[in-house]
């Protein structure tokens, strides 16, 4: 009889920090201590605290172990599982709590930690709780009950009404009301209609959809079937990038299980409704996350966008009426059907209902995945849930929406995060990537990074995007190398607006956003680059110089040894009190890698 469950995170973050070997070690040790009949090992989806992975939770106690290594496993099995003594040194605690309240590990509740207490997990409710490879565990958590309810108790119109009334908006970044999208598609007559799930998550730093598919794939399958019923579609596609192998495998496994159980296929719940689902692998082109390009790609063509109208609701996939939603949008649907529109719309702000999942990255203590009600301030997300900025640095800005988004400067940290607030400050919600930057980040360099990305990913179909983004990047290059002028800043702005207005699809229309947002909030940094020829954050290599303070240099030669460009040589000068001659840097040879600074123990090398 099983008396304890050991949950090991099998999300991408923890997998890369070694949770698979951990699982093996647990299996071996549990067997060695003769506990195989009493303890069950479960691989789950993401718990969210990726920075502290691999994560292991042991129930019924709910003990949360972080940064567990294979060497710790024997101790956990022997001490905790066999003898009931919690391994204190591995228990996760809030940093501050460590000093003030020394609660015994057995009394710690996960939901009391700063990381979890402001979160509201609806989309991620099963992530880190169930085994995504086991359909029965999903069913135990009310899985497929929403599909059953929709098919047996509700008309398609009623389903659409509930989704509309809930106020759910597209979580891929656009924020289009989901119910309206369904309602636009439903009345269109055709021999075949489609439901498409957009799982082509491509923003740098975003991993929300990936984690949902890895942690709770059945929620998406169930939602797509509900959507199919509501709009009269019998065939669905999930377009997911091939770079997400864990997500693809688990989703395929989940689809197979659902088919075996008759939850996909013909005559589901004897309602006469048929629904079939297929995965389409994307090759990783960013533009395929754009809805029309995605459909063109499913059709077997090169992933290029097409002009709208006609909209997908009228002429979508294979020219048939199609509803396309993002993974996170779908993952909300079963809960809305089960709990009702009012329950959902009671959360969030006036025009943005429910919750939003964010992938926290960059200069933040708790890199990971969080879900918060709409309307929570950026301050709460970064400083409370995210644990603040590491190394005592100052928060400078948060980047949202990836290459299509903007940034929120420190002065607006109290902004309540929802669709409309972010748009009103010239930013956007985006799909949920949230990259935190501190004083060491250069905003011009950040804009350049995203432009490099869009230049690479522009499909080339329309000129404003293909050529325009390239020219933008050239201007940014010029500025970061110290060759820019004030006129370049004006040209930059003008070109941005031109690209925005004239590009064919969302990729080009939003590509200038990182430049425009940084120009809006950090224009002084651009000016410092072109007028004063300095990079205030010390990032842009063309604008920084390394030099050795000859009075401080003791002549140990560590820097010269580290230098990959042979730019550091010994001088004849011996500083007073030192025995060896100082070194100097030949700036014409210097590649500005910073290896000399990293090696110097005497703070003799400065970066200006």
């Amino acid at each position: 009889m099983i008396r304890s469950h050991v949950l090991i995170c099998g999300g991408t973050g923890c997998t890369s920090s070694g949770s698979q070997t951990l699982q093996k070690a647990f299996n071996e040790n549990i067997a060695a201590f003769g506990l195989a009949e009493e303890v069950k090992l479960v691989q789950t989806g993401c718990f969210g605290l990726c920075a502290l992975g691999p994560i292991v939770i042991i129930y019924p106690d709910g003990t949360f172990y972080s940064r567990v290594t294979s060497e710790d496993v024997k101790e956990i099995v022997e001490e905790h599982l066999l003898k009931g003594r919690i391994v204190e040194r591995l228990v996760y605690r809030d940093k501050e709590a460590d000093e003030t309240v020394k609660k015994a590990a057995s009394e710690l509740s996960l939901s009391d930690t700063n990381f979890y207490k402001s979160q509201k997990r609806i989309v991620l409710r099963n992530c880190g709780v169930i085994d995504p490879d086991n359909i029965d565990e999903y069913i135990a958590m009310d899985g497929y009950a929403a599909l059953g309810k929709a098919l047996t108790e509700m008309t398609p119109e009623e389903v659409i009404k509930v989704v509309s009334d809930s106020g759910l908006r597209g979580r891929g970044g656009g924020g289009f009301p989901t119910g309206r999208k369904w309602a636009l598609c439903a009345p269109n007559k055709a021999d075949q209609k489609y439901v498409v799930c957009n799982a082509d998550e491509g923003d740098p730093g975003a991993f929300m959809d990936r984690s949902i598919l890895e942690g709770d794939p059945h929620a998406v399958i169930e939602a797509m079937a509900i959507c199919g019923y509501a709009v009269g579609a019998t065939k669905g596609y999930v377009y997911v990038r091939a770079e997400y192998p864990i997500a693809v495998t688990r989703l395929q496994h989940a689809i197979d299980q659902a088919k075996e159980y008759g939850l996909l296929g013909k005559n589901i719940f004897e309602s006469g409704f048929d629904f079939d689902l297929e995965i389409k692998l994307g090759a990783g082109a960013f533009v395929c996350g754009e809805e029309t390009a995605l459909m063109t790609s499913i059709e077997g063509n090169r992933g290029e966008p097409r002009p709208r109208p006609p909209y997908p609701a009228v002429k979508g996939l294979f020219n048939r009426p199609t509803v396309e939603n993002n993974v996170e949008t779908f993952a909300n649907i079963p809960q809305i059907i089960l709990n009702g529109a009012e329950w959902f719309s009671s959360m969030g702000t006036e025009r943005s209902k429910g919750t939003k999942v964010f992938a926290l990255g960059g200069k933040i203590e708790h890199t990971g995945l969080v879900e918060i009600p709409m309307g929570v301030t950026l301050n709460t997300i970064i400083n409370e849930i995210g644990g603040g900025i590491p190394n005592g640095k100052k928060f400078k800005a948060a980047q949202t929406g990836g290459p299509s988004g903007g940034c929120i400067p420190a002065s607006l940290i109290d902004t309540e995060v929802d669709y409309d607030n972010l748009v009103s400050i010239g930013c956007m919600m985006g799909s949920g990537g949230l990259i935190v930057m501190d004083e060491d980040n250069c905003m011009v360099d950040m804009a350049k990074f995203f432009l490099e990305f869009t230049v690479d990913e522009s499909c080339g179909k329309c000129t404003p995007c293909r050529v325009g983004t390239k020219r933008l990047l050239e201007l940014l290059d010029k500025i970061t190398q110290g060759n820019g002028t004030l006129e370049d800043i004006d040209r930059l702005e003008e070109l941005c607006n031109y690209i925005k207005q004239n590009s064919l699809c969302g990729l080009g229309q939003t590509a200038p956003n990182p430049v425009l947002a940084t120009l809006k909030f950090f224009r002084d940094e651009y000016i410092a680059h072109v007028v004063d020829k300095v990079c205030p954050a010390g990032v842009c290599k063309g604008l920084i110089n390394y030099s050795i303070d000859m009075e401080k240099c003791i002549g140990c030669g560590k820097c010269a040894k580290n230098c990959p460009a042979d730019a550091i040589t010994r001088t004849d000068y011996i500083a007073p009190g030192h025995k060896l001659a100082s070194f100097t840097i030949d700036t014409s040879k210097c590649v500005k890698c910073g290896a000399c600074v990293a090696g110097c123990k005497f703070n003799a090398i400065s970066k200006k």
């Binding site: 304890s4 469950h5 106690d61 066999l82 003898k83 009931g84 135990a140 047996t152 008759g262």
Partner: protein, 122 residues
Amino acid sequence: MKSLAELQAIKDRMKSKIVLREGTGEIRVVVGMATCGIAAGARPVLNAFVEEINAANLYEKVTVSQTGCIGFCQLEPIVEVFEAGKEKITYIKMTPDKVKEVVEKHLKGGNVVTEYTVAGAN
């Protein structure tokens, strides 16, 4: 699967298996599992609790966990029962047979089996 009833059946069957992950129930049964406890036979006692509680369908109400040495090694296996708002009950020198009785009378019926407690033994 063709009906909602079948779906419900799977849910009911799985609920008992997954309920462990919902945190602790109203009653917490803690078995002393230090070296002294194990030597005195705490493992079969622990397993008996898990089995009897499931058999009696008390799994949502009662959580079974272990603890280290309670300090009264000669009285092991020791089992403590915690219930919010009530005094802690400590059973001593437990055996799988006694467990059956404790589950039936105490956990299900609400009547402490005094003869097996520390107080009762004195």
